[in-house]
């Protein structure tokens, strides 16, 4: 049975065609796919496998090794709570628990309406602002859990 594949955009196809000439470029291509779709679906992996003539097993081996690559679709707004050392010591865990309780999901899950997901990440490199939460590309620093409902509300709808 032919597997279902994703139709890649012309830009993405061009990127892959260009990078496939270079050695060791699989990770760069996966980054580009995730940039476009937010995650690497089985279907995209299948399409890539055919384009660069590499077994699915090899691609999945790489995708699952690296934390950065996601195989499930994240929420429209991705809450990333920093759990680097500085943030952990200053209450990162409390922020995670509060996010979980506000959105009623666990770390790694997506809300039913697809609006939010929570991730715990290792050091976003703003240790001077600990504890830190990122929503998409916005950084919120020196947070207390009381500020979370308001921040989350900003992204709702």
């Amino acid at each position: 049975m032919a597997a279902v594949q994703t139709e890649f955009s012309a830009d993405l196809v061009r990127f892959i065609e260009e990078w496939k000439q270079k050695p060791g470029s699989l990770i760069m291509m996966l980054h580009r796919i995730q940039e476009e779709y937010g995650y690497i679906s089985r279907e995209s992996a299948e399409t890539l496998a055919r384009m660069i003539d590499l077994p699915m097993a090899k691609i999945y081996g790489v995708v699952t090794f690296y934390h950065f690559f996601k195989t499930t679709k994240p929420g429209k707004n991705r809450l990333a709570v920093c759990m680097g050392t500085a943030c952990y010591l200053k209450g990162g865990q409390t922020l995670i628990e509060e996010c979980e309780s506000i959105l009623n999901i666990k770390v790694g899950e997506v809300t039913d309406d697809g609006q939010f997901s929570i991730d715990s990440v290792r050091c976003v490199g703003c240790c001077g602002l600990a504890p830190v939460l990122m929503v998409g590309n916005d950084v919120y620093g020196k947070l207390t859990k009381d500020q979370l409902p308001e921040i989350i509300a900003k992204y709702r709808n």
Partner: protein, 595 residues
């Protein structure tokens, strides 16, 4: 066009996330609106290092150092300082106690610092190559290409005594020399910018603030070892650094400082950016090269060393960002000059990311041999909230905790190792009495469990075992035999793991077992966590003598387990309590007890 004033706005990630970009745009708009655009140049620079007080804005030539600036302050900075020539006093940095206003060089945070690696951070616009060149940028490359033979470059590094700043401290000249002498036509130069150590951001700030220093050094390295191709392997989590590197590469190519026939010397060198994907183990050089080849980033046994057989089995030179950033200065000022800074065996400076329970968080660069006490208490300004100092964690998940009695030892590669920690890449996290030694060890071990690549058994199984024992102790279920097991397993991992991730994963545990054994014993024997961090061991209760029955705690309790009549002492039902600590925080009468 000559400008009368210059405004430097910090464009590091920390300040950017506190709206530095908006400040920058507002300043530009205000300068235009108030008709002083021709008098002032507004520049976005790299990190100033004083992240605690960000966003930071500095005005030249008056050297006004503004802290915690808001976008709305832009108007006043332009109208007061640029138009009328008066400092905006309320924004100047003030010392906590004296309330006097100080210039940058008087701020204790900067006084003991000595900047080589961060020489251009907070000074130049990292997106403009001309500013780098104006500060002797690319002079070292020119000198190397036209006045020095490759052997001379390496000899200069040997005189300087520069050692690897990634943590292990291997002499840099020796790496370069080995790669140069290795047989083969094709060789590679790699810059390790996979800064995965949680709590460390030295490399990110260096690239964000001064990307050309790294590119220049890599090109010099290419010339010295006979390579035409370099790779920067950088974390995908650092978008700003990646962007600035891309701009820098394009600019240096356009000026003939990178690419074919550099400066007409006949030497070709190209640099490509490759992204990491969130695997700590890829900071290990053999794993990094596996990842660069597009594979799972698992370490391979050494030897053969990368200098002989590295990327695609070719001789490869791999150094960390901070190591490279030292190289251009060594060539322009000379190895002898460099060797006189720091200590005899560890010359030069080291950049640390100082964070945790400290007043002045930020990026600091100090000569080697500076003591930890000077960093924590003079530069760092001591512990937040006047709490008691407990220890300094260096080297991240591979390091240990150094306690009070060892604070006066000078920082060198050897001294930190002797104290059961290590230099590491430069994370320096300060702990106070509210931090629990068992909890911190458990945190690092959890990190190592996540990040172990799983290839070798000592690391894969060992980290899991240590983590489960530490979790058990932090829950109050520990036994005395657990302490022996922690030591036994930890030592076995140190000896038998394939790479340094596993080889040093036990360090936080072993060092806390040594320095904070009494805390482990308290957890096991008395079921007590003195810092109150191990939730399972904390019990909240209300002191009836102090409680006035205001009911605030009862209203805040998320599980409604606090009851009591109005104006009567309240009671916590310990069986329902989830130990969130809300009642403890809200009580204004210190009636809630935490034991």
């Amino acid at each position: 066009m000559a400008y009368k004033n210059f405004i430097l706005v910090c464009g590091g990630t920390g300040c950017e996330s506190s709206k530095a970009d908006e400040i920058y745009r507002n300043l530009l708009a205000e300068a235009e609106a108030q008709g002083v655009k021709a008098d002032v140049q507004i520049v976005k620079t790299g990190c100033f290092g004083f992240c605690e007080k960000g966003p930071i804005v500095k005005v030249l030539p008056s050297e006004s150092f503004y802290v915690e600036v808001k976008p709305s302050d832009a108007k006043e900075i332009i109208s007061e300082q640029i138009v009328k020539g008066r400092e905006v006093k309320r924004l100047l940095y003030k010392k906590e106690q004296q309330k006097d206003i100080v210039k940058l060089e008087d701020i204790e945070f900067y006084q003991k610092q000595f900047r080589i690696v961060l020489r251009n951070c907070g000074v130049i616009n990292p997106e403009n190559i001309e500013e780098y060149i104006a500060r002797d940028g690319y002079a070292a490359l020119e000198k190397a290409l036209f006045e020095m033979k490759p052997e001379d470059v390496i000899a200069e590094l040997k005189t300087a005594g520069l050692r690897g700043r990634g943590g292990a401290g291997f002499p840099t000249w020796m790496k370069w020399d080995l790669t140069r002498k290795a047989a083969g036509d094709v060789k590679y130069v790699i810059c390790n910018a996979d800064e995965g150590d949680p709590g460390a951001y030295m490399d990110r700030s260096t690239i964000e603030g001064d990307p050309h220093s790294v590119l220049e050094a890599m090109t010099i390295a290419g010339y010295a070892i006979g390579s035409n191709k370099g790779f920067v392997y950088i974390r995908a989590e650092y978008p700003l650094a990646i962007e600035r590197l891309k701009i820098a590469i394009a600019q240096s190519k356009a000026m003939g400082l990178l690419g074919d026939d550099i400066l007409g010397s006949g030497f070709d060198f190209d640099i490509e950016i490759r992204l990491g994907a969130g695997a700590f183990v890829c900071g290990e050089e053999t794993a990094l090269m596996q990842s660069l080849e597009g594979k799972r980033g698992m370490p391979v046994p050494k030897p053969p060393f990368p200098a002989i057989s590295g990327l695609w089995k070719k001789p490869t030179l791999i150094n960390n960002v901070e190591t490279y950033a030292n190289v251009p200065v060594i060539l322009t000022k000379g190895g002898t000059w460099f060797s006189k800074i720091g200590t005899e065996k560890s010359p030069g400076t080291k950049v640390f990311a100082l964070t945790g329970a400290i007043n002045n968080s930020g990026l600091v660069e100090v000569p080697m041999g500076t003591t930890l006490r000077e960093i924590v208490f003079d530069i760092g300004g001591g512990i937040k909230g006047g709490r008691k100092f407990k220890g300094v964690q260096t080297g991240g998940p591979s390091g240990g905790i150094i306690c009070e009695k060892d604070l006066d030892s000078p920082i060198t590669y050897e001294s930190l190792t002797a104290l059961g920690s290590m230099m590491g890449s430069g994370g320096m996290i300060v702990l106070d009495e509210d931090d629990c030694a068992v909890d911190v060890s458990r945190f690092y071990m959890e990190f190592c469990v996540d990040e172990s690549c799983g290839k070798c058994a000592p690391c894969r199984i060992g980290t899991n075992q240590l983590h489960s024992i530490l979790t058990k102790i932090s829950k109050g279920n520990g036994e005395m035999s657990d302490l022996d097991n922690l030591e036994r397993i930890g030592k076995a991992m140190t000896k038998a793991s394939l790479c340094l991730l596993g080889g040093s994963a036990a360090n936080p545990t072993l060092s806390t077992l040594k320095h904070f054994r009494d805390e482990y014993l308290e957890h096991i024997q008395e079921h007590k966590c003195r810092a109150g961090k191990c939730k399972a061991l904390v019990v909240y209760s209300i002191d009836p003598a102090k409680c006035i029955g205001c009911g605030l705690c009862a209203r805040r309790c998320p599980v409604n387990c606090i009851t009591g009549e109005k104006k009567q002492a309240h009671v916590i039902d310990a069986s329902q309590c989830i130990k969130c600590g809300e009642c403890f925080k809200v009580c204004k009468f210190n009636a809630v007890l935490k034991k």
